[in-house]
């Protein structure tokens, strides 16, 4: 450990500020509160701060960040923006360092977010011990008042002097700006220990449910009345998530400049407490009740992220509780309330805590990482209007390579200026082109409907887990499609037809609202010519004057009309959200085993790679873990068929 006397420390900070290659950021006062902001002088730096309004996540995942710059006057022109110069952040408290380590795990997990990694690699962190403890902080309870890594330098304000701990070589190089650096004495070490212990002691707020029991506590008390009681007071303003150092959800929007020719795709913070967070293009909101949103936040922190990445996603900074106006966001109060009211025996989950991260940003190289959000150019080969609302597209990637998708996967179709939309691939695997059927439902799909052969679109993907065509071999298959569900289902169905000898009995039931909404009419007509499949069609209603030979009624009514062995048939269901509840009920009456039912679900899939958070269905990311699920795996997921 090294020591700088206060005056020399100030000179050191001023030298950093004066270094033109660095953007020097530190903690400053803002009214009675504190913020991280660019420093003009060392005098502004407040190492005695308790907590900042926003955590330093804003430097790694900015509130607003341009992720693609596009030029709409060109057929397809997009580039990544320039990133700012190197930055050093002075005064990051240990709990915030723990949160940054969690952020590393989140964004550098399977799909590396290039923009994040670039900022992360471009930022030096000078950690700092907590001198003043915020009244709502509970990092003592969460054991995040001390970190062993995650910083380049770590300083402690010891009154007349500042101690330095070196974390990385790059951190050590920063010390070239320091004059009169001397070795610490045992007294300095003692003083530092005393400060640390004191802060950690003050930051204990009597959390009865230790982090390693949160998982079980939350799981067993999902239906507790406490959720409703608390959420009745909730303003649904989103503050708790926006100020949280371990909330990372984001939205993406296109902004067009006044020239109408160029624009930017901008990523911005979003939050699961906001109503429109889960809304999809057809207007369905998957967490309409505030209680569901309120509960989701706690469950994400204590259950879903621990399940996915290992760590408890709360570092005890106390920002949510200090900034929640109705005072219902405090994890200490909430967890204690649940703990006290719980009628269950709560199990410990090893020694899992906020530090349980397995990923270190140091081990990542920018070289070769690709931008997650940069679409690839593709060309429309064929565009045909198939119904009033739907249009069919055949698309080829401009690199002339196959899309490489599995049946049931989706792509993010991108039009600069209109954004992106998740669209199921409806063609079977193979071939150099792929097919989509797009319903007019929003800005992007409206624009898409105006496009023709030769026009360019952007494609990201394929994404998600599709149907496992291999595992279905030799099995009897019953396909049930409702409305637009035929689109993703077709990718599997046509694959099965193309490889018919590999499969057992094949039956397909297809229903839509009206005859005019029926998709793939030619193919449906061709089904009737085949002896090796059975098919039945239905419509909810047939308006006067239209011709219809099939059934009338919902698609579930067709089930009793076909012969199949419930115990030895795999049922593949794809339809709108309301469809599942009823069809599954009908199937269960016939005692079809859970594991024989396969579904494909729809949620708001914005990023496609499990980062933006919108499609989360309890702990499951529909875009990544689905959209195809075995019913057995998700039937107990409380949000799947609500």
């Amino acid at each position: 450990m090294k020591i700088l006397m206060k005056e020399d420390f100030k000179a050191f900070v001023n030298a950093l500020i004066g270094d033109p290659s660095l953007d020097t950021v530190g903690v400053k006062a803002k009214g009675q509160k504190f913020v991280f902001d660019s420093l003009d002088s060392a005098d502004e730096l407040r190492l005695d701060y308790d907590v900042t309004i926003l955590p330093p996540k804003k430097y790694f995942l900015p509130q607003y960040e341009t992720i693609v710059e596009f030029d709409m006057s060109q057929p397809f022109s997009a580039k990544r923006p320039e990133y700012p110069r190197k930055r050093v952040i002075i005064g990051v408290h240990p709990y915030d360092i723990a949160a940054i380590r969690q952020m590393d795990s989140y964004f550098l997990d399977t799909d590396i977010t290039e923009a994040y990694l670039r900022r992360r690699k471009n930022t030096l962190i000078i950690g700092s011990d907590v001198i003043t403890v915020s009244p709502t902080a509970f990092f003592g309870d969460m054991k995040t008042g001390e970190v062993k890594s995650g910083y380049d330098l770590f300083i402690t304000d010891l009154g007349d002097r500042v101690s330095f701990e070196v974390g990385t070589e790059e951190g050590e190089r920063l010390l070239r700006h320091a004059a009169n650096l001397k070795d610490s004495t045992p007294v300095d070490l003692q003083k530092r220990k005393a400060k640390r212990n004191s802060a950690n002691g003050k930051a204990m707020r009597g959390l009865m449910a230790k982090p390693n029991v949160w998982h079980d506590l939350l799981e067993k008390n999902f239906e507790s009345i406490v959720w409703k009681n608390q959420s009745d007071k909730c303003l649904a303003c989103g503050t708790c998530t926006l100020v949280c150092p371990t909330c990372f959800c984001y939205d993406i929007n296109d902004e067009i400049n006044l020239t109408l020719k160029s624009g930017e795709r901008v990523r911005t913070w979003d939050g699961c407490l906001l109503r429109q967070f889960t809304v999809i293009s057809t207007g369905e909101v998957f967490r309409e009740d505030i209680v569901d949103r309120y509960r989701h936040r706690f469950h994400r922190k204590g259950r879903y992220l621990p399940d996915r990445l290992g760590f408890v996603a709360c570092v005890g900074c106390g920002r949510c509780s200090s900034q929640c106006v109705p005072d219902i966001a405090d994890p200490v109060k909430m967890m204690n309330m649940l703990f006290e009211s719980s009628e269950h025996v709560i199990a410990e989950d090893g020694d899992r805590d906020a530090h349980s991260v397995s990923i270190d940003a140091k081990n990542f190289d920018l070289e070769g990482t690709i931008s997650l959000h940069m679409p690839k150019p593709a060309t429309i080969i064929r565009a045909e209007k198939v119904t009033e609302k739907e249009m069919f597209f055949e698309i080829e990637m401009d690199d002339h390579k196959p899309l490489g998708h599995q049946p049931g996967q989706f792509v993010e179709v991108s039009l600069f200026g209109s954004g992106e939309a998740p669209i199921s691939v409806s063609s079977p695997p193979g071939g150099n082109t792929f097919e989509l059927v797009v319903r007019k439902a929003g800005d992007l799909t409206n624009k898409l409907h105006l496009m023709k052969a030769g026009d360019k679109v952007g494609i990201r993907g394929p994404f998600g887990k599709g149907f496992d065509a291999e595992a279905l071999k030799k099995k009897n298959l019953l396909f049930i499609a409702g409305g637009l569900g035929i689109v993703p289902m077709r990718s599997l169905f046509n694959h099965v037809l193309n490889n018919r000898p590999d499969y057992g009995e094949v039956t397909v039931l297809y229903g839509c609202k009206e005859p005019c909404e029926m998709l793939f009419k030619d193919e449906v007509a061709a089904w009737g010519q085949r002896k090796d499949i059975t098919h039945l069609l239905t419509v909810d209603k047939c308006p006067d004057g239209e011709c219809w030979e099939g059934d009338i009624g919902v698609v579930g009514k067709l089930i009793p009309k076909v012969k199949f062995d419930p115990k030895h048939t795999i049922v593949i269901l794809v339809g709108p959200p309301v469809f599942y509840k009823f069809v599954i009920r009908d199937l269960k009456k016939l005692e079809v085993p859970d594991e024989n039912i396969i579904v494909s679900l729809e949620r708001r899939m914005k990023c496609g790679v499990g980062k933006c958070g919108h499609c989360q269905m309890s702990g499951v990311y529909v875009c990544k873990d689905g959209p195809v699920f075995n019913y057995k795996e998700i039937k107990d997921n409380k949000e799947a068929f609500k």
Partner: protein
């Protein structure tokens, strides 16, 4: 052909049209995209041939309703510009009194005949929002509007997209700006109910949000009332908070209206 755009104003301070003029250099860019065929604030020429009518102000008298209906009939798209057109403006608070009470308070009683309903300038004055008289296609809220948002809405219309008016509370933008929460400094903010899109200029400057943009689609009024009570506001204070720009939401018909 560039779309023809006309600006109109009714009872208002005209600050929203001024906000458009305050686009400064960007206004020059805007003029490359549209033909402004009527704009009282800055031009003498005027035409009744327009595609988009942008209307500021609240509707007060029968003569104003007539004029608005004519504008509606001429326009393909009608946009309500600002809080007066959207909600009736601060002046809607006058609807707490009867027209006669208001006239007496402001003009006195010296010459009652001059200000009687028979004088069309003074006929049954009552503040209404545009959509209480005609169909409104889009609304740009705010007192005044956010000029950047105005540009965004225009861009959206010109590129065939839905105008991007947010449906989340001002708190979201306020937090992103890292403002000190008004409640922590003893102020009473309507931000949790108010529709964002303004960029939270009032809390950013240290003043409470007064919900000039109206509420989000699903406001949690009960929770907000609880909060205001918790912070010590009386029932009267809370009512005042909720009526400044948003009297429309609580207005009950009044005798003489």
């Amino acid at each position: 052909m560039k779309p023809r755009v006309a600006f109109f104003d009714f009872a208002s301070c005209e600050g929203c049209q001024l906000s458009v003029a305050n686009l400064e250099e960007s206004l020059v860019d805007v003029l490359k995209l549209i033909d402004i065929v009527a704009f009282r604030e800055v031009m003498k020429e005027h035409s009744d041939q327009y595609d988009i009518a942008i209307v500021e102000g609240s509707i007060t008298r029968p003569m104003d309703e007539e004029r608005l209906k004519k504008i509606r009939a001429n326009a393909n798209i009608l946009i309500a510009l600002g809080a007066c057109a959207h909600l009736g403006g601060v002046q809607r608070m006058a609807n707490q009194w009867t027209p006669e009470e208001n006239k007496k308070e402001v003009y006195g009683i010296a010459n009652p005949a001059d200000i009687a309903d028979s004088n069309r300038f003074f006929e049954k004055p009552r503040q209404k929002a545009l959509d209480e008289v005609v169909k409104v296609d889009y609304t740009i809220p705010g007192c005044p509007i956010n000029k950047e948002e105005f540009a965004k809405v225009l861009i959206a219309l010109l590129t065939g997209r839905k105008p991007p008016i947010p449906d989340y509370p001002v708190c979201v933008e306020c937090k992103k700006k890292e403002n000190v929460c008004m409640f922590t400094i003893g102020k009473f903010c309507m931000g949790p109910l108010a529709r964002a899109g303004c960029g939270a200029p009032c809390p950013t400057a240290g003043n409470e949000c007064e919900a000039c943009r109206g509420y989000v689609d699903h406001p949690h009024e009960k929770a907000q009332t609880d909060v205001l009570e918790k912070y010590g506001l009386t029932v009267d204070d809370i009512m005042r908070r909720k009526t400044m720009f948003t009297y429309r939401y609580v207005e009950k018909p009044k005798d003489g209206a």
